[in-house]
Each structure stands twice: as C-alpha cells, then as structure tokens.
Amino acid sequence: MSDCKELIGNLSDFIDGELDLNMCQELKKHLEGCRNCRLVADSLTKTVKLCRDGVTEDLPESLKESLNQKLQARWKAKFDKN
C-alpha cells in the first residue's frame, strides 16, 4: 500500500482531473482503502467549492455609473483628437 504522505500532494491535481492516468489509478485505489485521505480529498474539494459559491461581491450601480463616465471621457480623449 502506498504512503499517504506521498499521495496526498497529488490530491489537488487528482480532484482537478489533471493527474496522469497511472497516478490516477494508484490514487483511486489508495482512496478506496484510506478514510483519512478520503477526508482530505473531500475537504480540498469543498475548499474550492466554498470559495466559488460563498464570496461574490455585487458591483454597485453608482460605481458602474462612475466607471462609464470615466471611460467615455478617456475614449473621447483618445479617439477624438483629430
């Protein structure tokens, strides 16, 4: 049976589907028999999922408006020279 420590470094790639086939098979086999590595894999998956879902900041209308005005002015300065 392979060493957890050796495999655990590959878990992130495994989850992202970026591990080569051989390594993937070895890790899969290991995970079937190792609850601890399964928990690490699961929490690494959830870490990314939580960051994706949890922390969006809405763009305020006032800032959108302020940006539009600045962009318009900058655009004019750039293209309306001649």
């Binding site: 420590k5 992130s12 690490v40 870490t47 922390v55 302020s66």
Partner: protein, 209 residues
C-alpha cells in the same frame, strides 16, 4: 460549451476588438460588459480595502482603453483584462513579501487506514451548523490572510476558473511556479477552514455539556 460555440465567441470577440481599435466605443463596451462584475469581485479580494478596490477596478478598464492597440489576441480579451488588473495591484502594493509555509506543513499528518484522526473529519457536519453569513465571513477572512502572491493565482484558478497556463500568463509566473502557488494556497485555505471548523465543533460540543 462545444467547439462551435467557442468558435463563434472567438470570432465575435475578434470583430469587437477590431471595432474598438478603430474607435467604436460600443464595441469596447460589449467587450468589457461581462468582465465588469468579475473584475470588481476580484479587485475586492486583492485590494486592501474598499477604496483601493474601486480604484483598481476603474484603473483596469481605463488602462485597457490606453493600451487597446497593443492587444494582439494572443490571449482571450478576458485574460488580457485580468493581466491588467493584476498589474495594477502590483503597481499599487509593490512586490508581495508574504510567504506561506512549505508544502509539507499543510499536509495533514494522516496515518494510513480507517482509524480516527483528530484533525480529519467530515466537513458536512460543521457546515450544516453554520449560518451563511458566518461562513462567508470566515471564507473571506481566510482568503484575505493568504499573502497576495498566493492569493492572486489561487483566485484566478478557482474563482475565475482559469487554466493553470492562463494563470501563469496573467501573473507572469512560470507554469511550475503558478502550479505550486495554487496548490499551497489551496492547502493553506483548507487548513484555515479546517481549524475553524474544529474550533466550532469544540464550541458546540461544550455547550451541550
């Protein structure tokens, strides 16, 4: 998306870029439309405070106007915008000096097998007990604790859904460095959340005693 869909988007983008380069403001606006909320969300997480975030957000698009002629389509327009944003942050704050621990420090000292391990537990239980706000606050805090040079590639990869190659391009890192930073950031984030959940578990259990 299928290849045909991607092809249509690329063709549209190319036309819009050509238009923008010739002074078509509407074309430029179409190009940036979908990226405005995304760049803002990223700026909030990369900047030190709200005021800086708003500056970085606006500066990114102003710089895009200034440099539109230099965009050659070697990356997608979106990746180009992210690159500008990352550079605006770098110019504002200088080189990121913070360091994370070596990789090994984030690997749980797991012993092989099915035995109980104090630091390893199912996250579903603590997750179900926390409110959305509690969780959001903690995730934000953990993200902000990452040194900028790790936080940037991590967010580009996982909240902006970039490929590792695009992360490397955007940050100016080698592929290997980008990969390594993304991984360390992910492990550090896992550790930070795990510690928090462990503490919360302790708290809730104590209440019951």
């Amino acid at each position: 998306m299928n290849h045909y869909g991607a092809f249509i988007i690329q063709t549209n983008e190319k036309k819009l870029v050509e238009g923008a380069k010739q002074g078509d403001f509407a074309a430029f606006n179409r190009l940036i439309e979908n990226y405005r909320p995304r760049i803002f969300g990223l700026a909030v997480k990369l900047a030190k405070n709200r005021e800086d975030a708003e500056d970085v957000f606006q500066e990114t698009f102003l710089k895009a106007i200034d440099n539109i002629q230099k965009f050659r389509g070697e990356s997608s327009f979106g990746t180009w915008l992210y690159t500008i944003c990352v550079n605006v942050i770098r110019n504002k704050y200088g080189r990121s000096t913070g360091e994370l621990l070596p990789l090994e420090e984030y690997l749980p000292r797991a012993e092989h097998g099915d035995g109980e391990h104090a630091e390893l537990f199912d996250w579903d239980d603590p997750l179900s007990k926390l409110t959305k706000d509690e969780l959001k606050q903690k995730i934000n805090q953990s993200i902000m604790q990452l040194p900028l040079k790790y936080r940037t590639p991590f967010l580009l990869r996982y909240t902006e859904e970039m490929s590792v190659a695009d992360v490397a391009r955007t940050t100016g890192l080698t592929l290997a460095a980008a990969k390594s930073r993304i991984l360390r950031a992910r492990l550090a984030m896992r550790q930070s959340l795990n510690d928090y959940f462990l503490g919360e578990r302790g708290k809730k259990n104590n209440v019951r005693l």
